[in-house]
């Protein structure tokens, strides 16, 4: 033994270091193997439990929703006692309720909400809202906004300005889903541009969850954030706010290209044919992106005549645009020839 120590001592520093490091790495490796197996073991058991519970819940919730002969209160107490006892099980139950909620509407959603309350899940989710872990807060907000369950105001309000973007985004959706008036009030104090993800989820909430009156989107058309302006323009056509057509017509001359494009798109979607003469007069001096949008509009609500009315001298230079123009020309001609065969007179007008 002493011999080994003296041998070790006689080595240069670097060799000593190497030996110590390799021993360290080997032990870490063995520890990792242990952890891999430990994770494997716990995950396997968790998965078995999860599958069993999911099956039980599937049967239970379906019966609770649709079976009139189901003894609700006694079955509920039984389930609560046997299954809703660990945090893991609570999470799975919430998830299952959300899946039902996502697919059903009408009377069933009220029953699901009732079930959520009876099972004592409300308290659990509220405690998550107060948690320090951001992912718990975000998830809890998500649960409440999906099920339209109101949480105490004082718990929600700090989350609107949370440090994590994910929490803020979920808070916005929660407010949107549960507010009765002014669901989009937060837009007025918005600090960052809206991402596409936010816009999609906001639109989804407005269409599917929000119960109040849809706001008039014209109030945000001069918002400093371009993404808010574009979102409002889109929503005008999504919610058929025809009263805003005059505003949209002025936005065609907006100085931002993306706003002009959105305005043209919305008007086209609303089938506002009076838009086309204005577009034809603008065409010559527009950017390629808007030119393409104008061509799309003519394809959507216009006619061959409109296409012929465009001043296309310069567009032959932009090959991509010109190709699109030619394909439109080809499309109109082919539909015209069908009409011609049927004895339609539009061709004469066109030529």
């Amino acid at each position: 033994m002493n011999y080994l120590f003296s041998l070790f001592d006689s080595w240069p520093f670097i060799v000593k270091l190497n030996l110590i490091l390799s021993i360290l790495f080997f032990s870490l490796a063995i520890w990792l193997i242990g952890s891999v197996y430990y994770i494997r073991y716990t995950k396997t058991i968790m998965n078995i439990k999860r599958r069993e519970l999911e099956k039980t819940l599937l049967d239970f919730i379906s019966s609770y929703l649709f079976d009139e002969n189901f003894d609700k209160s006694s079955e509920l107490t039984k389930l609560k006692k046997t299954h809703i006892n660990t945090e893991f099980n609570l999470k799975i139950t919430i998830k299952q309720l959300l899946i039902f909620n996502e697919n059903l509407k009408g009377a069933s959603t009220e029953i699901l909400k009732e079930l959520f309350m009876f099972l004592g899940l409300y308290e659990y989710v509220v405690s998550d809202l107060k948690s320090r872990a951001w992912e718990k807060k975000a998830r809890a907000l998500h649960v409440f906004s999906q099920l339209y369950i109101k949480a105490p105001e004082e718990v929600i309000s700090p989350l609107i300005n949370d440090q994590r973007l994910e929490v803020r985004q979920q808070a916005v959706l929660y407010i949107l889903n549960l507010s009765e008036t002014n669901p989009l009030e937060f837009l007025n104090t918005l600090q960052d541009e809206l991402t596409l993800w936010q816009q999609i989820y906001m639109e989804h909430s407005l269409k599917n969850s929000f119960k109040g009156e849809i706001p008039n989107f014209s109030q945000w058309t001069s918002h400093p954030m371009s993404s808010v302006v574009r979102f409002s323009i889109r929503m005008m056509s999504e919610f058929n706010q025809f009263q805003n057509i005059p505003i949209l017509m002025t936005l065609i001359d907006h100085n931002e290209e993306s706003v002009r494009k959105a305005a043209i798109h919305s008007l086209s979607k609303m089938g506002h044919i009076d838009l086309i003469p204005k577009l034809i007069s603008k065409f010559k001096n527009e950017t390629p992106v808007i030119k393409k949008e104008i061509l799309k509009t003519i394809n959507h609500i216009g006619s061959y005549n409109h296409l012929l009315a465009l001043e296309v001298k310069e567009i032959t230079e932009n090959k991509s645009l010109y190709t699109y123009y030619s394909s439109l020309e080809q499309y109109f001609k082919s539909t015209l020839s069908i009409k011609l065969n049927m004895g339609d007179l539009t061709v004469k007008e066109a030529s």
Binding site: L58, F66, D67, G106
Partner: protein, 122 residues
């Protein structure tokens, strides 16, 4: 004789709810969890109505609809889908489906529309 309905849907929760409701309405219900299974059943069994999702494993809903329209025309089809985009709905009707219900759905309304579709085809 009971009318047979084929439910093609990969979400067990939806299948369960649909089956529950439709069995109580007095139909015989057969379920297929994916497009391949559905195709097998369509080839060998007969149904009075088909209720299908559009996004399915192995074979998509539109491929199934195309097959049904070509090989067993006359069997009414109701689509039950998450999609609610205009073009997807238009495409489905162009392919000849009888009704299009979007998720989330109300089981009562669905049962009503199933009855109406069956009445219309007879």
């Amino acid at each position: 004789m009971k009318k047979r309905i084929l439910i093609i849907e990969d979400n067990p929760m939806v299948v369960k709810s649909l089956a529950f409701k439709l069995i109580r309405d007095g139909y015989e219900v057969v379920t297929a969890a994916d497009g391949r299974d559905a195709m097998e059943r369509l080839k060998t069994e007969r149904f009075s109505l088909i209720l299908t999702d559009l996004m399915l494993p192995f074979i998509s809903g539109s491929q199934l609809i195309e097959y049904i329209k070509k090989n067993i025309p006359g069997v009414p089809i109701i689509v039950l889908s998450t999609s609610n985009q205009d073009d997807i709905i238009t495409d489905a009707f162009n392919m000849g489906v009888d009704d299009f219900i979007t998720k989330p759905f109300s089981p009562n309304e669905l049962s009503l529309r199933v009855r109406r579709t069956l009445a219309n085809t007879n």
